[in-house]
Symmetry: C2
Subunit: 444 residues, 2 copies
């Protein structure tokens, strides 16, 4: 299909290409656009039916959006804006430089312009910044027949009418009713008799993470957003929530790998920004490794008299780090998914203690067999290494389990604090245990 | 609210408690149930209206579901099953022991029983195992008026009617039409004139990860599932997809932290299972640390003549590990979100090379200032450490960037391969560079 279209475009048969293109899903057309020469793309974009053009527009990259807006006439811009869903318009404008925003705003009527400005001012990541204004509103005194007629009349421009919102004369939210329920009810029933009044809603300034959690908890498809007077000002729909879930997960991945989270796609971010995002934590962690260096230098004498001890430092540190990050990852994830709560701190402590004993004993035993029997290391050195290993694993897992909960308790992001810190803490303690054990057992 | 209800239950005022409870959202009632004594819970459960009872039933834990099914009569079981959505029934039965499954199946008619058995046989994580059979189907020759009448007639039991599916007389999928579009169309238009025919669908055996990716790509609310003859057998709805996205993300977190992924919640998993999930990789990684040990023992002489070199081993290894896992995390995530593709391998290579040079130079310079000027370490040793650091960071980032892409190329899960392996590789190479550099620069 793609090849056929590319071929037609190659031969300059734009009208034929258009016929094929409009059979495609707008998402796929947007993907196709990313691969076309800009000149060709512009020709095609201009001959697409406007509802398809605006659909495609909302899925192409910011660079292409910018190129198109810069290249088309004011009249064409107006046509696209008319068809574009309001939240897609806001998403697009948020990413554009001010000259493009101006060019777009010039082509809107005053009330839309005011609304756009208002939306662009909501804090980033707030309900206000992700909501749309295209929803169906009803009054509770309407009959089902009137309600459906009202939706038919006004619904064409609405992004979603699956859930309808019931408001009073001051636009205060009174209830919700699903289109499904409207359809399945008798014509002469009143809206107020079938609406649900225990509505789950958020405020314009609520954080998107909170909203995503509510969507998950209550299996919602959309959620009303109200202002401080509980007046309905917009709704958030589930397709935006899915993007937010991915975004929040990416942030956690980045924080746990000791990076400053970034919203930009990797391939679209330049090397300087990438380096900047990674440097902060690397510097902090590098400097904190001064402690491990100090510890080793303090035990100089031990290392000099039994040089082979050095050979096991990497294994001990790595195993400790791995054991610790296993625990912290599980706890951070459990906290994020709200499967683990602050009150579970002792349950986690006890569980990690049991697990770490089991894991530590197995690892120590295997390691003893490996270094004493196979590598023929001195018995006392082998014992020193294996006892340290057991200690390290127990400690790493307990620290790994507790650190995220502690972070949450003092209201620091668990992923941010626990991910990177665990290695440093475990390293330092491992070395101290190792050398103390060596001094004691080997009598240095 | 919760306190009021608990109080009423304490005083044995079940009827009053019921009045308060049925005002709540079923999700919240389910949460409340988890905190009640089983005896009280059972009394309450039995007096709830059956549509609320079944809603609550689908949200409570498997343990409570089991307890309830074991305690209530066959007639009551039948009432719940009648109200429960089909996919919730399957989800619940999948987690139950066989005696409970038998007790439940005994209370269904033969056709439902056959259907349940068929669904329980779909492979885990397949479209078949997560789909529901409650959807609205239309015929393309229907008028809108007939279609809406048909939905009104049959829609009461359907989990979702937001999207309706158009099938031919052999149940082959011909198109989809949204309820929104039905409502907004004229009564005498035909379904076939407004239905979309480029339907995104999956096969019963397709993997849930693929399905989630399609939902995200096309912003869908539901998706049809067909058999090998393209006959419609069920639909997948977006609320199930959100759970799957979380589940897949948790798996990636676990794999990257060197654990066997598990579907169980942390607090509900016993210590032996947790230990088992963590041990495999810890053992592999511990044994692979044999190499780093061997390398150190090979360079015994170097360490013995300049003991201070040992003090920087942890810092070099940790910084290398951190730098590498930053890169691998970004690439693994980019691959998972389909922002990075196999063909981008050289772009990634070039970007990581630039970033690593920037990061490496800054870290080396800072480190030089720290150890040469502040810690008064010998100049040549300082140079050795800082040159190694630069090498380590460049290498770690390139390995970290390439390993996930290589994994994907040879069809191994990038999170599984790249996460844990990176430390081992970087450790070994760091030590070799460090000691070689020391031998050369310090003339040992």
């Amino acid at each position: 299909m793609k090849e056929i279209i590319l071929n037609l475009l190659e031969q300059g048969k734009y009208a034929d290409a258009k016929i094929e293109i409009i059979k495609m899903n707008v998402v796929d057309i947007a993907h196709l656009f990313e691969e076309l020469e800009q000149q060709k793309l512009l020709v095609i974009f201009r001959i697409l039916p406007k509802e398809i053009a605006s659909g495609v527009f909302s899925y192409i990259s910011n660079e292409l959006q910018r190129y198109i807006i810069e290249s088309i006439t004011d009249k064409e811009i107006k046509n696209i804006l008319d068809e574009l869903f309001f939240d897609d318009t806001i998403d697009f404008l948020e990413e554009m430089p001010s000259n493009i925003v101006k060019k777009v705003l010039k082509n809107t009527d005053e009330s839309t312009r005011n609304l756009i400005n208002q939306f662009l001012n909501y804090p980033e990541y707030s309900a206000g910044s992700i909501m749309t204004i295209e929803y169906a509103d009803l009054k509770k005194e309407m009959t089902i027949e009137q309600a459906i007629k009202h939706i038919k009349h006004t619904g064409v421009d609405k992004e979603t009418i699956h859930t309808c919102y019931v408001i009073d004369e001051f636009r205060k939210l009174e209830g919700v009713v699903s289109l499904r329920k409207l359809i399945l009810s008798e014509d002469n029933v009143l809206v107020k008799d079938i609406m649900k009044t225990d509505v789950i809603y958020v405020n314009t300034h609520d954080d998107q993470e909170k909203i995503a959690a509510l969507f998950k908890k209550y299996d919602l498809l959309s959620m009303p957003v109200v202002d401080n007077e509980r007046r309905l000002v917009g709704i958030v729909t589930i397709d935006d929530i899915i993007d937010i879930i991915d975004q929040e997960n990416t942030e956690d991945f980045e924080k746990m790998a000791a990076m400053q989270p970034s919203e930009e796609e990797y391939l679209k971010t330049n090397a300087f920004i990438l380096a900047k995002n990674r440097l902060t934590w690397l510097i902090i962690l590098m400097i904190s490794a001064t402690f491990t260096g100090k510890i080793i230098r303090n035990f100089d004498a031990v290392l000099q008299s039994v040089v082979i001890l050095t050979a096991f430092i990497p294994m001990l540190m790595d195993t400790g780090g791995n054991a610790g990050s296993q625990s912290s990852t599980l706890i951070i994830r459990g906290l994020a998914l709200e499967e683990i709560h602050l009150k579970d701190v002792f349950k986690v402590l006890w569980k990690e203690f049991q697990v770490s004993l089991l894991v530590g004993i197995v690892l120590s035993a295997l390691n003893f067999i490996r270094i004493y029997y196979f590598e023929k290391v001195d018995l006392l050195v082998s014992v020193t290494v294996c006892v340290t290993l057991l200690f390290t694993v127990v400690l790493a897992k307990i620290v790994g389990g507790m650190l995220p909960i502690l972070a949450k308790k003092i209201k620091v992001d668990p992923a941010l604090m626990a991910g990177p810190l665990i290695t440093t803490i475990v390293d330092a303690v491992t070395l101290i245990v190792y050398f103390s054990m060596a001094k004691w057992l080997l009598g240095i």
